[in-house]
C-alpha cells in the first residue's frame, strides 16, 4: 500500500483467531499483498469502515441507483455514509451475476472471473449469495460497467435485483444425484432465460423467484423461498433392489430397520416382511423420500418422473411467512411441448400477478389476498384436491354454482380418461 497506514482493526482481528477460515484475513491479504494500489486502498478502507461498524454496532451503507447501459437492475448500489473517513471504498457496489445452472465451474473459468474482477473491482467475491447469484462485492460506479462488459463478452450476464424476475437456482440434480426426477438444468435455463427482459428491467410488483429441485428433498428450499417452485417427483412405484435391501437389514438389524425406516413412513406404507424383504403400498406413498434417503443403494424414485409445481413461497415481509401451494400436482417435463407448457404457466402467472399484484406484493401475498380460486382462474388452471391439505371448514361461502362445478369436475375426469387411459381417475 503506497501512501496510507492500515486502519487499526482490533475487533476484526478477533475474527482471525480460531480454526475456521477467516474472511478478515482474506480482506487483509488484499490490503497487504495485492500488487495493485487501488485494491490495497479499497481493502484498507473497507476494513476501516467494517471496524467502525463493529465498534458502533451500526451499518454505514446506503443504496442508490446504479446499473449498466441497457439494463435497469442487477447491481446493488452501495455508497458509504462515512466515505470521508474511508474514501477508497466510498462506492462499493455489488454486481449480481447469474451462475451456470447447477453452479458448475471449471477452475479455468473461475480464474478468468478472478482476473477480470481484480482488474475492475475489490477482489472480494462470494459463490453464492442467498439469491443464488455470484456476488462480486465492491466496485465503483464506473467500473461496474467495465467489469460487466468484460465478463458479458465471455458468457456471463447480470442477475435480478429489485422488483423483477430474479436469478433462478437449481440443485446438482441429474448431473450427479440418482434421486433426480427431472432435468433441473434445462428447466432452470428454460424458465429464467425466457424472462431475461424481466430480469434486467425491473417493472414487476416485487421480486419473482424460480427454484428447481430434482426431488422432494428440495435442496433448493424452493417451497419456502420461491414464487414458483418446480420439484421433481414420480408417479409409479419406488424401485426396490430387494437384495440390497435385505443386505441392509442384515447389517443393521430388524429393530433398527423398523425404528428408523418402517415406522417413519408418514403414511404407513412400508412393511418389513418375514423374509426381510420390503413391501411398499405405492398408492399411498407421498414421495417423502425418507426411506430412499436412508437406503439409497436399495431404493430409488420410480421411472415415470415429472414435476410438481408450487406457487407463492416467501419469507416474512409483509404478511408473514408463506409456503408455496400446489398448483400443478404432476406434469411430465420430457418433450419440447412439455417445456413450453411449463413456460406458459410461468408467463400466465407473472402476467396475472403483474396485472393484479399491489406494489411490493409477492405473488403468494396476492394469492392470500384474492384467494387461490381467483388466482387459478386467472392463470387458467383447474382445481384439484391435491392443492389442499383438507377441504373447507367454514360454511360461509356462496355455493349456488355447485351443480355446474360438479359437472365440470366429472367432465374433466372423463376427458382425462379419454386422453390418458392409464391416468388414475
Amino acid at each position: 500500500m503506497a501512501d496510507r497506514e492500515p486502519h487499526p482493526t482490533p475487533m476484526l482481528n478477533e475474527l482471525e483467531t480460531g480454526p475456521w477460515p477467516s474472511f478478515v484475513s482474506g480482506i487483509k491479504r488484499l490490503r497487504d499483498d495485492h500488487r495493485q494500489d487501488r485494491v490495497n486502498g479499497v481493502a484498507n478502507d473497507l476494513l476501516g469502515q467494517l471496524e467502525h461498524s463493529y465498534e458502533t454496532r451500526k451499518g454505514y451503507w446506503k443504496g442508490g441507483t446504479v446499473s449498466v447501459y441497457g439494463y435497469g437492475g442487477g447491481i446493488i448500489p452501495r455508497f458509504s455514509e462515512v466515505g470521508q473517513q474511508f474514501p477508497d471504498s466510498k462506492e462499493f457496489h455489488t454486481l449480481r451475476v447469474q451462475p451456470p445452472a447447477g453452479n458448475h465451474y471449471s477452475t479455468d473459468i473461475l480464474r478468468q472471473l478472478a482476473d477480470s474482477w481484480e482488474k475492475w473491482g475489490s477482489g472480494l467475491v462470494t459463490f453464492h449469495g442467498q439469491t443464488g447469484n455470484i456476488m462480486f462485492i465492491g466496485a465503483t460506479t464506473d467500473n461496474t460497467q467495465h467489469f460487466f462488459d468484460e465478463i458479458n463478452d465471455y458468457g456471463f450476464d447480470l442477475g435480478g435485483a429489485g422488483p423483477c424476475v430474479r436469478t433462478a437456482q437449481s440443485c446438482v440434480g441429474a448431473s450427479r444425484c440418482e434421486q433426480s426426477c427431472a432435468n433441473e438444468h434445462k428447466i432452470h435455463r428454460t424458465l429464467v432465460n425466457n424472462f431475461t427482459d424481466d430480469v434486467h428491467r425491473p417493472a414487476l410488483p416485487y421480486k419473482f423467484k424460480f427454484k428447481i429441485s430434482g426431488c422432494p428433498n428440495d435442496c433448493m428450499n424452493a417451497i419456502e423461498r420461491a414464487d414458483m417452485a418446480v420439484i421433481g417427483t414420480w408417479r409409479d412405484d419406488i424401485k426396490v433392489d430387494q437384495d440390497e435391501w435385505k443386505s441392509y437389514v442384515e447389517t443393521k438389524g430388524r429393530q433398527h430397520t423398523i425404528d428408523n425406516i418402517i415406522t417413519r413412513c408418514p403414511t404407513s406404507s412400508l412393511s418389513l416382511k418375514d423374509d426381510d424383504s420390503l413391501e411398499i403400498d405405492n398408492r399411498n406413498c407421498v414421495r417423502c423420500m425418507h426411506c430412499i434417503n436412508v437406503v439409497p443403494k436399495a431404493l430409488s424414485p420410480g421411472s415415470d418422473t415429472g414435476v410438481t409445481v408450487l406457487m407463492g413461497g416467501k419469507r416474512t415481509l409483509k404478511i408473514g411467512d408463506l409456503m408455496g401451494t400446489v398448483v400443478v400436482p404432476f406434469m411430465k417435463v420430457d418433450s419440447e411441448e412439455d417445456y413450453e407448457r411449463l413456460v406458459e404457466i410461468a408467463e400466465n402467472t407473472i402476467d396475472y400477478w403483474a396485472e393484479n399484484g399491489l406494489e411490493h406484493e409477492r405473488c403468494g401475498e396476492m394469492i392470500e389476498r384474492i384467494g387461490l380460486i381467483n388466482f387459478l382462474e386467472g392463470i387458467g388452471i383447474d382445481v384439484d384436491p391435491n392443492m389442499v391439505a383438507e377441504p373447507r371448514e367454514s360454511s360461509y361461502v356462496r355455493m349456488d354454482g355447485w351443480d355446474e362445478e360438479a359437472i365440470r369436475w366429472f367432465e374433466r375426469k372423463g376427458e382425462q380418461k379419454r386422453v390418458e387411459p392409464n391416468a388414475v381417475a
Binding site: L15, G59, G155
Partner: protein, 358 residues
C-alpha cells in the same frame, strides 16, 4: 458533443453448466444409480454405466478474496480434475474420477486451511447474509457471527454425529434473507425506529412507506413545518420494514437491536411436510466481535438435540415427538408470553386438545 458509442449488453441470461461440468458427470447425466458416504465430507456416486465419481466438500470463509479463490483453483488443478461446484451453503465441491485422488485432495485442502466436511448428518456450513460488510439495512454482521460459531462447531462440521443434518442460518434483519433453518439466528429489533424528521420528505416516498408497515402504524405528519412520517409506537412491532424504503427511519440501535433464535425450519418433504422455524429465545445481545451469548445458546440446543433425538429426526421431527414443553425443559430456555403467536392464522398454533406430556 460526439456521443460515446456504448456497448450493448448480450442478454445471455443463465449460462449453460455443461461446458464447465466434470466429463464423468456429463457422460452419466441422469444415469446415476446410487451413492454412499465413505467418510465425512466425501460422497461417492455410481452410475448405471459403472462409472463412479467422488465428491470432496470443503467449507470456506464464503467471502473469498481472489488469492483464496486462486488457491482453491490451484488445489483443483493439482489434486482434482479441474472441475468444481458450489453448494447452496457456499461450500466448494471437487469432483474426481478415482478413489486414489480423494485422500491427497483432502490433505491439500486441510493444509491450506479449508475444512473438509458438511455432508450427511453433520452441522452444515451456516448460510448467511451480507451484514455490515455490504448491506444497507443490517442490524449485525452475519460474516462475523458465522465465523465465530463455525470456530466452535467445526468438529460437528467435520463429523457426522448428529441424528440428522442440521442447517443453521443467520440473518441481519427480520427480512431473514438467510432463510429457514433447523436453527436460525436472526436480528430482532426491540424499539420503534428513530425518525430524522429533517430528511424524511426529501429521501422517502411517503405513501410507499406507509403501505409497507405490516400493522398500519405509520402515518403522514408535519414536524417543525416539514412533511414527514410518524409512528404510533403503541402499534409498532419494531420489525424494521419501514427502514429500507426510508433510511431516516433508523431501526438499528447499538443496544436495542437484539438477536433471536428460532428452531425447526425444514425445507425438505422427508417424513413430515416442510416446516417454518419457531421462536425459542430472544433478547440475546448483539455482541461483536464474537457474539458468545448467541453461540452458547446454539450449542446448548445442538447438544440437547444430539443427546435426545432419535436417528434421522431433524430438529422439527424431534420436537414434534417430545413436545415443546419438554424442549424448553431440556434446553433450559425461558418460555415467555412472546412465544405465543398472535399474528394472522395463529389460532392453529395453539393446543386445542388434552394432548399434554407430563
Amino acid at each position: 458533443m460526439a456521443k460515446k458509442e456504448m456497448r450493448r449488453p448480450i442478454e445471455s441470461g443463465c449460462p449453460d453448466g455443461f461446458q464447465y461440468m466434470h466429463p464423468v458427470m456429463v457422460k452419466n447425466f441422469s444415469q446415476w444409480k446410487w451413492h454412499d458416504h465413505p467418510r465425512p465430507g466425501v460422497l461417492r456416486h455410481v452410475a448405471e454405466s459403472g462409472d463412479a465419481i467422488w465428491t470432496v466438500r470443503a467449507g470456506t470463509q464464503r467471502i473469498l478474496d481472489v488469492f483464496t479463490l486462486r488457491t482453491l483453483c490451484d488445489i483443483g488443478d493439482e489434486f482434482a480434475d479441474g472441475h468444481v461446484r458450489f453448494t447452496i451453503r457456499s461450500n466448494i465441491e471437487y469432483m474426481v474420477d478415482g478413489e486414489e485422488k480423494v485422500n491427497p485432495l483432502i490433505g491439500a485442502l486441510e493444509n491450506a486451511g479449508f475444512v473438509v466436511g458438511g455432508t450427511g448428518n453433520s452441522v452444515a456450513m451456516i448460510a448467511h447474509t451480507q451484514g455490515w460488510l455490504h448491506c444497507d439495512i443490517p442490524g449485525t454482521d452475519a460474516s462475523g457471527i458465522v465465523k465465530s460459531m463455525m470456530d466452535e462447531l467445526i468438529d460437528e462440521f467435520k463429523n457426522c454425529n448428529m441424528p440428522n443434518r442440521v442447517h443453521i442460518t443467520t440473518s441481519c434483519c427480520q427480512i431473514n434473507c438467510g432463510g429457514q433453518g433447523d436453527i436460525a439466528i436472526n436480528v430482532q429489533h426491540t424499539k420503534p425506529p428513530k425518525i430524522n424528521h429533517d430528511l424524511v420528505a426529501n429521501v422517502c416516498e411517503r405513501p410507499s412507506v406507509v403501505a409497507r408497515c405490516p400493522v398500519a402504524a405509520i402515518r403522514p405528519a408535519q414536524v417543525n413545518g416539514k412533511p414527514t412520517l410518524e409512528v404510533d409506537e403503541k402499534k409498532c412491532i419494531c420489525c424494521g420494514a419501514c427502514y429500507p424504503p426510508c433510511p431516516p427511519m433508523q431501526i438499528n440501535d447499538p443496544e436495542h437491536t437484539k438477536l433471536a433464535i428460532w428452531v425447526g425450519g425444514n425445507h425438505s418433504n422427508a417424513r413430515s411436510k416442510p416446516s417454518f422455524q419457531k421462536l425459542v429465545a430472544s433478547g440475546i445481545p448483539n455482541n461483536p466481535p464474537r457474539w458468545p451469548e448467541a453461540t452458547a445458546i446454539v450449542k446448548k440446543i445442538l447438544n440437547t438435540y444430539k443427546d435426545d433425538a432419535r436417528d434421522w429426526e431433524r430438529i422439527n421431527d424431534w420436537i414434534d415427538r417430545i413436545g415443546w414443553s419438554r424442549f424448553f425443559e431440556l434446553t433450559g430456555l425461558a418460555f415467555t408470553k412472546y412465544h405465543i403467536d398472535h399474528w394472522r392464522g395463529s389460532r392453529k398454533s395453539l393446543n386445542s386438545s388434552t394432548h399434554i406430556r407430563f
